[in-house]
Symmetry: C2
Subunit: 196 residues, 2 copies
Amino acid sequence: MPRPRKFDESAVLAAARDQFWSAGYAGTTMDAVAAATDLGKGSLYGAFGGKQELFHRVFDDYCAQAEDGVRRELTGPDEEAFARLTAHVHGIAASVAADTAHRGCLLAKGTAELAEHDPVVAARALRTFDELERLLVADIEACQRHGDLSPGADPHRLAALVLTVLRGMEALGKAGKDARFLEAVAESALAALPRP
Amino acid sequence: MPRPRKFDESAVLAAARDQFWSAGYAGTTMDAVAAATDLGKGSLYGAFGGKQELFHRVFDDYCAQAEDGVRRELTGPDEEAFARLTAHVHGIAASVAADTAHRGCLLAKGTAELAEHDPVVAARALRTFDELERLLVADIEACQRHGDLSPGADPHRLAALVLTVLRGMEALGKAGKDARFLEAVAESALAALPRP
DNA sequence: GCACTTATGGACGATTCAGTCAAGAACTGG
DNA sequence: CCAGTTCTTGACTGAATCGTCCATAAGTGC
């Protein structure tokens, strides 16, 4: 029987994630990750394979968690679909505004830095956005069924617009646009949805 | 009288910009910049001071050019204000979609990578977005004067929404969302503006 | 408690990085 | 054509960088 690992894998991944999140991929050194996780470099390489593989793992976990969070926020009975949608949009605005350190979102940061040259990252990012879009479509369809949104509108187009607004808020929040701006955008985007 | 410079400063800055654009700040080496510009490192450091100063210069120039381009697209007589707006939004969608290499926008990439830790970059990015917003407000007000948009709507809110959609399209295009998606978003965003 | 397997941790190596420096080249005013 | 100033070249430095390696520790089935 092998010697079991002494470290908690999820804690190590969280520490690595924070390093990548703060310094970016190229700006993060494996020595820093080792120091942050209190692991020797031998253990780090033995367990995760290398910088790129570690990042892929961290990025994948982050995307999965992001999807899960949104899924929880947007799933439920039709009667509350519109409330869920407004809460989600306002919630994103609020959380972006609350990020006064402008750390932003690892999905956005990783995509901006690596999507051009790393097909694994690009594919994972695209899959995540597609899933977020799908969740929005489902919720918007629920809104239509319950009569909160115009049944004649194309739910895919509405979802695409909402997703785009959400990602734009993230980008502008990172640049320092304030809570008032973001809140106004959230309100305007919701007001732009066609009511029956 | 001093010996004049042999190189063309704007060509050197363009080559440096391409390096930073492609590899990011941390991923770019001064050796690579020197090779791309055919300059010795001594000249590079003598003329621009160092990696960070060079990036600030490149980033500032890029932002200024971006502002100028949008200013040209959105400025003109009231009668064409709405046509300018629709052309701008569709133009961004088309140019993002045409960027099949997913190089994206240096403003977005630099902001994502550096805004958190480099106040110079953060301030320049915010200033650029504010200027783009201002240009949108001016054009939307022109639309209202000419009767193409509802005069009762708050032009600042509409401009904020449009700017957010544009930055969201850039972010999603980088992740690989296709031309059909982006075009649908552009159309939906324009359709969401309140007509008189 | 022995043997076997894996984890650990830190030293090590080859490479690469940002930035410096000095010697010589190039240009112009006089 | 000379003197003075700046530009250029590329070798050099010291610090990091990624990744490897190996001796040792640790846990478990028998």
